[in-house]
Subunit: 259 residues, 2 copies
């Protein structure tokens, strides 16, 4: 039986920080019909503000190590500045946005990422539980959740969390109630055979092909967990997963994942 549609849309922090790109994204976002949830990344503004506050970014393999000062910094910047500016802007365009972190109404609970290969990422959490009932309640009330890349452990601690992972986790948790369409946006048109060739877009990106590319090392390592997360969502009831350019969410352009 067909259920009501829900779009879960992830946008990167770098796009939000660029006024022109942000405007193009918002135009598409407003044109997406039906219920929708926006999950946004963090972006470089946290590093800039951190530098002024004397909080140095400490990156290991492209991931931010989140010490006590850094979790306060990203709580301010992602949960406050980036999130509320997006909310106010959407409100100004008649979308009834409500800005949330995973801690709010406990919409996303996570566990601290375990120390691996001697690296302790600090206050970084991996999502384990979604308050799907509450999200459904506020969607029914007509609100559009705008979620910052922060979660909590339910014991009083806030965690820095990967926005792509949050999007996949939310999509999966909502799949029982809705026909969920998950969209992960990038600056590229989608999954490309050759990033330098715009004509090499893979419109139907099949899981066996993904596994081949992964085995051959043809996919950038940072993309692997995102794609694995997305294929898992498809295997668990999410209706569609599409990877597309940030200004194409209201179209059907990009790469649809297929299992």
């Amino acid at each position: 039986m067909s259920k009501e549609q829900l779009s879960v849309i992830k946008i990167g922090g770098a796009v939000i920080e660029d006024p022109e790109k942000k405007a193009a994204f918002i135009e598409g976002f407003l044109a997406v019909e039906g219920k929708k949830i926006l999950i946004h990344g963090g972006g470089r503004v946290a590093t800039e503000i951190g530098n002024k506050l004397g909080i140095k970014a400490n990156m290991v393999d492209g991931r931010r190590v989140t010490d006590d000062d850094t979790i306060d910094l990203v709580t301010m910047v992602y949960g406050g500045l980036v999130n509320k500016q997006m909310v106010a802007e959407l409100q100004g365009k008649n979308a009834n946005a409500i800005g949330l972190t995973g801690a709010d109404a406990s919409i996303i609970t996570s566990v601290k990422r375990p120390v691996r290969d001697g690296v302790d990422y600090g206050w970084v959490g991996d999502p384990v539980k979604v308050n799907d009932a509450f999200l459904a309640d506020i969607l029914t009330a007509g609100a559009v959740p705008v979620v910052a890349p922060l979660t909590h452990d339910g014991k009083g601690h806030i965690f820095n969390t990967n926005a792509d992972t949050m999007a996949g986790t939310v999509a999966l948790a909502m799949a029982e109630r809705y026909d969920v369409n998950l969209m992960l946006t990038f600056e590229l048109e989608g999954v490309m055979k050759d990033v330098d060739d715009p004509d090499s877009l893979i419109t139907e990106f099949k899981e066996p092909f993904f596994k081949e590319m992964k085995a051959s090392g043809a996919i950038h390592s940072g993309m692997i967990p995102k794609l694995e997360n997305s294929f898992e969502a498809l295997h668990n009831g999410v209706k569609t997963v599409r990877i597309c350019k940030y200004d194409q969410i209201h179209t059907t352009n990009g790469s649809f994942l297929q299992i």
Copy 2:
């Protein structure tokens, strides 16, 4: 006819910044039965962080003038850091807190404060409209709204807003649906005849007496708009207004306003 009870509780930023006082407040807050809304102030941490970022606090008559940099600063600090830390802490104690600004789901819309006596307060807004239906929806869903002292104009702009005024406005807007008990907390026991004499607490603070004190100059000027706001709430259907110490909200101590 008696309606369901709703407590609207205002806490100052200075109390939240003091770990011991914050803990005492939270203990009382958890003990307040039934539906509740917490509205918190900003506090000095914004000034400290602003100083590090090179954003100077510009105060006129004890009020912060909010320029472009300052509204970004308070959006980060009040809407992100202060609000989300309170939310995570309450979640850790099994209160289903949800952190919001006035922009979120447009719960509080305001208008820019007009220039008076040549003073332009910048991005400072005075509340004009409350989305009482949405607040009622999330209270029914079991959430506890925790509101930062920020509002919006519905046109894309965030405003710095006085937390006492917000509390009075929210209490009044919710009075049609609930029996609303408004509590404004301070570091004192309540309204005192003599601030240096703890035995001078006025337990029943009557409006004619307030007008006398106001006329004679016996009340500090900063208190006048807060008290006028509170008496107005009583005249417009709010059931009780109590001014009390931050750790006494679960008791009946303090000063009850009477019209």
